[in-house]
């Protein structure tokens, strides 16, 4: 018999996270990946003890796993003597993103959106019952960054989240979708779906801005922009934008 989901003999106390191992997984790898995922936004270099605590691992175990991760460049030792995420992750992350072959089409569209709206533009894709930010261009204005590349958010809420399911929702919403503080307070987002060559939803493109900058003038300026780029990007991906334009 193999690993039970709940093991009462586990180190206990209160490790923040737990290596939520699935049945049949390789434990050592589960734990190593749990270590990587124990790094949170803004953590520069974490001391060994902290990593072990977060991942719920024995000190020795964490040390050994970190050594292995380090020798592959997945973590690196900080100058002040802790462990930080390593550069190999950047290389693989970009490789993942390029494997989707969206960058060449999406980035120019985001560039146009940003320069014409002077707001942050982003592109999300659906990932099961979530969505993930794949690309982003920051507003040239000194605004708060609310989202980050690689982040996940729920489907069905927020402009991007609703845009991704817009073509299967009943009743069909008008496009582009505008959300006022729907997921994040004080934030307005405008988004529309993008189709690929097979007519499926490839993602959602749009712009995000602080609410105080969203007035009727901004609305009149930005909505057509988003719609235009959603259609342009759909064409660039070999798709037919008419299902999108039909809801405009």
């Amino acid at each position: 018999m193999t690993r039970k989901p709940t093991d009462p003999t586990r180190p206990a106390a209160g490790p923040r996270r737990e290596a939520a191992d699935a049945e049949g997984n390789v434990r050592a790898v589960d734990r190593a990946l749990a270590i990587l995922q124990s790094f949170e936004e803004g953590d520069a270099a974490l001391p060994l003890v902290e990593i072990a605590r977060r991942a719920g691992l024995h000190l020795t175990t964490a040390l050994r796993l970190l050594g292995t991760l380090e020798s592959h460049g997945f973590v690196q030792r900080g100058a002040a003597g802790g462990y930080a995420l390593g550069p190999q992750l950047l290389a693989l992350g970009e490789r993942f993103r390029r494997s989707l072959r969206l960058e060449d089409q999406v980035m120019p569209a985001l560039d146009r959106l940003r320069s014409e709206s002077r707001e942050s533009a982003a592109f999300f894709v659906r990932e099961g019952e979530q969505r993930r930010c794949l690309f982003r261009q920051e507003s040239p204005q000194p605004v708060r960054t609310v989202a980050q590349v690689g982040d996940v958010a729920p489907l069905g809420i927020g402009a991007y989240g609703r845009a991704l399911v817009a073509l299967e929702a009943e009743p069909r919403p008008r496009l582009p979708i505008v959300s006022h503080g729907e997921r994040l307070p004080e934030v307005v987002a405008i988004a529309a779906p993008v189709l690929n060559g097979r007519g499926a939803v490839a993602g959602a493109i749009g712009i995000t801005m602080p609410r105080y900058r969203f007035d009727p003038a901004a609305e009149a300026r930005c909505l057509p922009l988003v719609l235009r780029e959603a259609a342009a990007l759909t064409r660039a991906l070999g798709g037919d934008p008419s299902p999108i334009l039909a809801l405009a």
Copy 2:
């Protein structure tokens, strides 16, 4: 018996890579990371057999490790039934990059370089005896992309590679450094070092263009741009740009 570097009984032919395990590493983790690294540029989804061959692993072993990697989102199964890199890598790669806290300063500088030069701009950091591309803004012109975020290249060669060591080279080179087809044929690059608040080299910033676009007019336009942004970025990082300007 364990795996020798060369094992005649291996699945045949030539496994392209080998899990170059270091002493004291956790084997299962070594192998899992080797699987991740066996994905190359342009590989969309690899069949299990191919992954096992590249990583030099038994089929069963590769399958089990892939299962574990999949349950953490480090790989995902393609529609056509193979394995591809997973979205979790993007999240962690970006987290790594943000942990360096350079993005807010570097990206605006790259934006300016790109929009004023209409060429691709990039920022490299030193990583031991190599350098790695951390940020990049693509030229608006339809040019060939030569480098990618996350890529590594050697130090000491190419404009960026020489800029990173410019302040310790003898004799000191003039800045910015210009390379004509030095590392990549048909490519011209212009780069200069960037200093941080402690006076150390934080990285190198510059632009890259196809050789045919580099004429005296382009040179007169671009060199000051790179120098200006190297100094501006140095100031933005709290450093003193005078060592850079002294070599201009």
